[in-house]
Amino acid sequence: LSTGNTVMKILNSQLTRRVISRTFESLRSQVQSESCVLAVCDSPVFIWPNKSVHATPEEITPNTPCEDIQQWIQTDDQESAGKRSAKKKSKKSSSSVINLRLMMELTQPGPLSAPILSKTVQRSHFLAATLPMDCVVCIGCSDTIKYACERLLEALTRQLCDMEKVTLQHMRGPTVLVPEALHFLLPEPKGLVTVVYTEGVSDSQLETQRKELHQQFELPDDRPYFRRANAYHFPNEPYKDGYLRNPHVVLTHPTLDNGKLYLVQGIYSYHHYMQDRMDDNGWGCAYRSLQTICSWFQQQGYVERSVPTHKEIQQALVDVGDKQASFVGSRQWIGSIEVQAVLNQLLGITSKIMFVSQGSELASKGRELANHFLTEGTPIMIGGGVLAHTILGVTWSETTGQIRYLILDPHYTGAEDLQLITDKGWCGWKGPDFWDQTAYYNLCLPQRPKVI
């Protein structure tokens, strides 16, 4: 047997599986041991969950409600790591996130026996991996730390079991496939759920697993909940790419008589003039609206490709024969038809086109728009006159016919300042008079693929 074959043989053997299981067992007992410590990030708070929930500082007892921990967390505008003054007590009463780190205590009361150096000489394989554990528990503010620790320990132990299963399942050859834990926010009452995937295995290979999860959680099988892009983004983590997400959520939505709200579903990024060091002021509005739509499909997990640049958009149109090669690098406008073509070419997304011969007719399109947001929930690109915009939702009254449009304006040239963008109406509610009443408009309504 050559060395190569021997390696393969060893790594798939029963013996190997037993050793891996034994190691996971030892990890589980470490997590359940008295040396396990939960450290609250950015604070002097440390909790020993398996030592009768002993904690430091001494003001914290097992019966302390979890919301009290907030006071100890040092935010950027604080100097010391002490308690915040009572005056500055947090106004937040609803959801908040406390980050913890799992640590191991190395010290313990002595005296103990001095170390032994053991040397083993035997041909074998050595496997070392860091397991990126990530657990979440949702509990009430007034629940005690003791309760939270019990839930966390349960979650950690369960995750180690899941990771063991995944590691054994995906053991193939000499490569190490490391498990990866992701959290997904499912519709109430299920809440946050943690799933262990394997790093490096793409979404397309995980379809069977997703089918099982959809069945397990009784979710519809025509929209994704468990793709990597669907992973829950915790409110206190900034997005690395710097784009604003869903600026519309901070707005106060209008109320109409018998009016109902129909909004875009899920997460999109706000793309507008001058971003990415691209000066498209005056001609790029439809491109930006298209980028916003692409960002929606990416973040809902339907596509993996990143938001296309202006050049890539133009190249796609050349590739489908819609434009000449000279189009690439030009500053030519595009319209809804081009947006539809690019969505199809680059993302494989089909779209419906809605045409109105004059802007005043848009006021009567309430039912169609409402239905679109109900069933598809995708952002709409609207082009007409000389402008392009994105429609993120409508408030529409079936009885009175009154309508308001939630508009995301790509003509904004400033920085990613949520306050400014919403105050000045760059993302805001507009009435039917927002449209040029005599111009004709084309709307591109992207359709959501029925996949998981």
Binding site: T3, I10, L15, V19, T23, S26, Q32, F46, T56, C66, S80, S94, V97, N99, R101, L102, M103, M104, L106, T107, Q108, G110, P111, L112, S113, A114, P115, I116, L117, S118, K119, T120, V121, Q122, R123, S124, H125, F126, L127, A128, A129, T130, L131, M133, C135, V136, V137, C138, I139, C141, D143, L152, T157, C161, P174, T175, V176, H183, L192, F234
Partner: protein, 425 residues
């Protein structure tokens, strides 16, 4: 302005005695602790006589002095270090200064080559030299910056005082060590094991350095005074806890063929002393962590040095690291030195080494052997009793509001997650 050294009275008596006894130059080491404002000297130790030097009475053996310093460093708990060198001679001051300069640089180079920790920005890099002239009985004190090869002598104050370390604080802990290092699969020579162990120790030392240190159960702000609120001139004892998490650097995952493994498992007692001039919490943490690293590294080193002399390297074996034994220094205060007692040695050997290396007269009653127990090699392998709970899939609690979501992001220790599996070929 130059540095100021506050020196124990006992050092003066020791140096005077050496002046009277010896013909020919006497060199030795000065032991103590440096801080930003002041430096404290607690002990002076003459260089042991080797057979050659008694014959050639007049020359100063640089290698002997630095080797002595290296061995003495191993016997100093945290907070104590070799601060510099003294020489008692009637030779001219200028020549002596040159000799002294060479000595402190040689000592520094040798000692720092063995260190496993990274130097900190607030480390003092000056070494002190003391020249006691037997004829004139004058003492001349100068310092050199040993991190600067071009540094020149700067004058420093040398002042004797009693009770210099009488109210020094002690920080200590008992710490579990659990190292596992694979050995390469080609010839497992002794050098390979040494090198692998050293690399493994370096990784472990980094983990210790970046660990969280609690003092008396609390995480104190770095710049807070350790002894704030305590009565002055009362001896303080603090107990420390060390917590680690390897979340910052995620070491690359690895599967490799290996020829075996080396592990170091057991517990050590670590101790550090802090001067009484308003020491900060971060100093306590720094000194204790350095002691943790050096006590393990020194012992492993000693074991390997012993092993180099014995025979067959190609076998599975278990060796006991020596245990740490403390001995108080004969000054008023908590300061101790330490030695390592191998399992085949008795206390008389420890006493001999204390005399030979530290010129210290100690009796068996003085020794503190209660901090660590002698390691014993047993046949039982390390099997952890797994306690796998049967976790019932609990329904998520129905809340009217999602109050607090606690997220834990964790990367488990590579050595904890490391798996070693055996090939039955």
């Amino acid at each position: 302005m130059g540095r100021g050294y506050i020196v124990e009275d006992t050092v003066e008596r020791y140096l005077s005695k050496l002046c009277e006894q010896q013909a020919g130059p006497v060199t030795g080491l000065l032991i103590g602790q440096s801080s930003a404002q002041r430096d404290f000297v607690v002990m002076a130790i003459r260089t042991p006589q080797s057979e050659e030097s008694t014959a050639a009475g007049n020359s100063v053996d640089k290698e002997l002095v630095s080797e002595h310093a290296r061995q003495v460093s191993r016997m100093l708990p945290g907070g104590l270090s070799v601060l510099g060198v003294f020489i008692i001679t009637d030779t001219d001051a200028k020549d002596t200064l040159t000799t002294l300069r060479q000595l402190v640089f040689a000592v520094e180079n040798l000692i720092s080559s063995e260190l496993l920790w990274n130097p900190a920005d607030d480390d003092v890099t000056d070494s002190v030299t003391l020249h006691v002239n037997t004829k004139t009985r004058k003492t001349v004190c100068r310092t050199f910056d040993v991190k600067d090869p071009k540094s020149t002598a700067r004058p420093a104050d040398w002042k004797y005082q009693s009770g210099v370390c009488s109210s020094w604080a002690t920080v200590s802990c008992c710490l579990n060590v659990n190292l596992l290092v694979p050995l390469p699969h080609n010839k497992t020579s002794a050098e390979n094991m040494d090198r692998c162990l050293k690399e493994g120790l370096k990784v472990w030392a980094n983990q210790i350095e970046s660990g969280v240190c609690l003092i008396d159960g609390k995480k104190l702000p770095e710049d807070s005074e350790l002894t704030a609120g305590q009565r002055r001139n009362v001896r303080q004892m603090y107990s420390a806890q060390l917590l680690i998490t390897p979340d910052d650097q995620r070491l690359p995952d690895v599967v490799q063929l290996c020829g075996g493994s080396v592990s170091v498992r057991g517990a050590i007692h670590s101790r550090a002393f802090l001067h009484s001039n308003k020491p900060k919490a971060k100093l306590a943490e720094k000194l204790l962590k350095r002691d943790v690293v050096s006590t393990v590294a020194s012992r492993v080193q000693m074991l390997l040095e012993e092993e180099d002399q014995s025979g067959d390297k190609q076998q599975t074996e278990q060796l006991c690291l020596p245990r740490r034994v403390f001995c108080p220094v004969k000054v008023n205060g908590p300061v101790c030195v330490c030695d390592y007692q191998f399992s085949d040695e008795g206390l008389p050997e420890v006493i001999d080494r204390l005399k030979e290396m530290l010129d210290m007269d100690a009796a068996e009653e003085d020794l503190d052997t209660r901090q660590e127990m002698t390691a014993e090699v047993t046949e039982s392998s390390v099997t952890t009793e797994p306690t796998v709970e049967t976790v019932k899939a609990s329904e998520p609690k129905k809340n009217n509001y999602i109050g607090v979501a606690m997220a834990t992001a964790v990367a488990l220790l590579a050595t904890a997650a490391s798996m070693l599996y055996l090939n039955d070929i």
